[in-house]
Each structure stands twice: as C-alpha cells, then as structure tokens.
C-alpha cells in the first residue's frame, strides 16, 4: 500500500512560510493499493489530491473518521466529484439520531457551500458504519468508535501481510483509567494493534494538553505511549496544532524524545510524505 500525506494539520488550515515543512492542509491521506484508491478523510488536503489523481481512477473510496470541519472541508473542492464518469463511495460513522447523509448535507448546502450533495455530477454512494468490517476490493477495512467528541471512528486497513491504522483525532488517555497499562480497556487498541504504520493524533505538548483535556486530542508523549501499547512498527504523528510553526513542531518533537528509548520508528507527519507499506 502506497500512502501519501496530503494534509496533516489539525483543526484549521494554516498556510504560511513558517509552516511550509509540515504543511498547512488539514487531514487527508491517500492509500493506493493496485487499482484501489482509498482516501482517509476529506480535509483541505483533498483539494491538491484531486488535482493530481490519475484521471483513469474513476472509482474512489473516501473513509471519513468524523464530520468535524477540518476532516470534511475539502470535499466540495475535490475534482472527481464534478466528473460524471466517477463513482465515489463515502463511508462515515453513524450518529445517535441524524443519518450520515443528513449530516453531510449540512456541509453540502448553503450557506456553507453552494452546490448541494445531490447536485454533484459524480455518482456518490454513502454508507454508514459503526464497529464494522468490510472489503474495498482487496483491502479489508475495520472501523471502530474511538475516544473523541461526537461520533468518531478509527480505521484499520489490511492487505495480505500489511496494515495501516488511522487515528488522526484520538484521546486515548481520557478513555482509560490506567493509560497506557490495560490494552483491553484502551480506546483504539483494536485498530492500531501491531500495525505496520499508524497515523496518530499528537496535537499538543504536555503543557498544552494539560489545559485541553477532554478536547479529543493527544499529546506527543501520550501518542508515543499508545504506540508502545499497541506494538506498532512505525508511527507518524499528525493533527499538528494550527498555531505551531515548523520550528515549534521540531522543538516539541525533539523534547518529547529526550531521555526516551522508543522501540518503533517515529516521525512527524508532513505534507507530501510517502510511505510504502508491504
């Protein structure tokens, strides 16, 4: 599975010269496995992906973790939606009352967006999921509700012998009384367990996190603990706070690694980074 980061900023797109290394676009990751194109989240990063996607790719699959704006705001600007030959399958979490279609229509309607969902030229199929398991061609997808405000799922993508896990908005420390000691009582464990590559929320440093407990995001230190708990091979930290510049992110990352021995590969996510998992 070839995996490309098109956006790994959290909360709000934040372009600027001081953020050019890690990028300012919000959540969007492309996973390409043979002819299967899976897009994880439709944040502002999906706009650039739409410009560069293979025009022969007429079937596209979008997995939405949740409907917070930074994870869907790019959908209306994704070119394949305006190609009548394209079929776009969207999966997203069930809520308690309103359907996924109704909730997506809130975004695809005035005053937020001029084009309505049913006016998009592409054929759009929308499927609600919860703790689910399903196939997209050869890729097995597992979803599970995780600790984040509002209906939110994490995704696990498996092909023969390789696994990618995606938990861009996740606060496992809140969902466990003894984090990170009890795997069976830890949010997201089933999604990330033994993954070859895990994309995980790491929005804050410890000081920032202490003032934002319950907001649904992790500190870098907690993300690392979660990676150790789940025995991942490689972890990419995403959902960078929009207020943090490249220099600040580098400093936070360096500080988080001080006096630590980590038994897996770890790096900060940056736009345009490509990972081959096989």
């Amino acid at each position: 599975m070839k995996t490309t980061i098109w956006g790994c900023r959290g909360s709000l797109p934040s372009p600027g010269l001081e953020k050019i290394l890690f990028g300012g676009n919000t959540s969007c990751i492309q996973v390409q496995h043979k002819d299967t194109c899976i897009i994880l989240d439709g944040g502002s990063g999906i706009q650039r992906l739409g410009d560069s996607i293979d025009p022969k790719q007429l079937k596209i699959n979008i997995l939405l973790t949740h409907l917070h704006l930074d994870h869907i705001m790019g959908l209306g600007y994704f070119k394949p939606f305006y190609n009548p030959e394209c079929t776009i399958n969207i999966w997203g979490p069930s809520g308690s009352s309103k359907s996924l279609v109704k909730r997506l229509r809130r975004y695809f309607s005035p005053p937020f967006f001029p084009v309505r969902l049913n006016e998009l030229p592409a054929k759009v199929n929308i499927t609600e999921i919860n703790n689910s398991s399903f196939m997209i061609n050869e890729v097995r997808v597992k979803s599970e509700y995780i600790c984040h405000p509002g209906p939110t799922v994490g995704y696990r993508l498996e092909t023969d012998g390789s696994t990618i896990a995606f938990l861009p908005d996740h606060e496992p420390a809140l969902g466990s009384s003894h984090f990170p000691d009890l795997p069976d009582w830890s949010s997201g464990y089933n999604i990330a367990k033994d993954a070859d590559l895990l994309f995980h929320d790491a929005q804050y440093d410890n000081n920032e996190y202490n003032n934002r407990i319950g907001w649904g995001h992790s500190s870098i230190a907690d993300a690392i603990k979660f990676g150790e708990l789940t025995n991942v091979k490689k972890m990419v930290l995403v959902h960078h706070d929009p207020a943090n510049s490249d220099a600040q992110l580098k400093k936070m990352f360096k500080k988080s690694l001080e006096h630590k021995t980590i038994n897996f590969e770890l790096e900060m996510g940056r736009e345009n980074a490509v990972f081959q998992v096989s």
């Binding site: 703790n131 009384s177 949010s187 089933n190």
Partner: protein
Amino acid sequence: MSSKEIEVILSRQWADCLSVPVFIVDTGGNLIFYNEPAEELLGMRYDTTGAMPVSDWSTMFRPEDDKGVALPPENLPLVKTLSTQMPAHGEFWINNLRGSVYKISVTSFPIMGRPKRFIGAIAIFWKILEK
C-alpha cells in the same frame, strides 16, 4: 486480546470518578467492572475477583426481599435490564462478603451505543439501611 467498546471504556472511566457504587456488565451479564465504592459495599475487590459471570454475582450476595425471601436472579434490576434493554429499579437486602447486611436501592440502565447498539448495562446503587 481485544479492547472493549469505547462506550464501555468510557463508562468505566466515569464510574471510576464517582463516589457512589457502580456495576458494569457486558451483554452476556458478565460483571466486567465495579468501582471502589462498590468494593466497599460488597466487601470484595475488583483487582482480586476480576470479571465474574452473572451466575456468580447475582447469587453471591444472597439478595432477599423485606420478608427474607431469596430473590431469583431474574428479579434483580440489572438482570432485568439485560433481558429487556430497559431501565429497571428495585430495593432489596444483600449480605456482603464481610458479613454485613444492607438494604440497597438499585437503578440500572442499558448502555446503548451509536447507532442503538446494546453493549451492556450499568447499575448504580445506594445503601439505604443496615442491619
């Protein structure tokens, strides 16, 4: 090993923060968590007992009505909630494992996750009398 549903994980976290006794059971009736106040009332420790099947926890405290008649498991609020997926309430006597006898008031309710998934049940209880 696999982890429990997020609704159950967060229920435990919530129960852990409370000063009233709380029981959490899965859909099969297995007692998967009880908090410190429940430990004090029941006279046992979660760290020691771990999870317990419904056949154990529904009988080990010898629940009785006001006349001293033993209550069958199906008459306990939490067992009712498991079978009906509806809230239930009741008052009865228990014998805790340290030999104390209490009358408790129990309210139970189902854990219904999104979208209307029955995941387990919670019972909150209060000591209202002591013999």
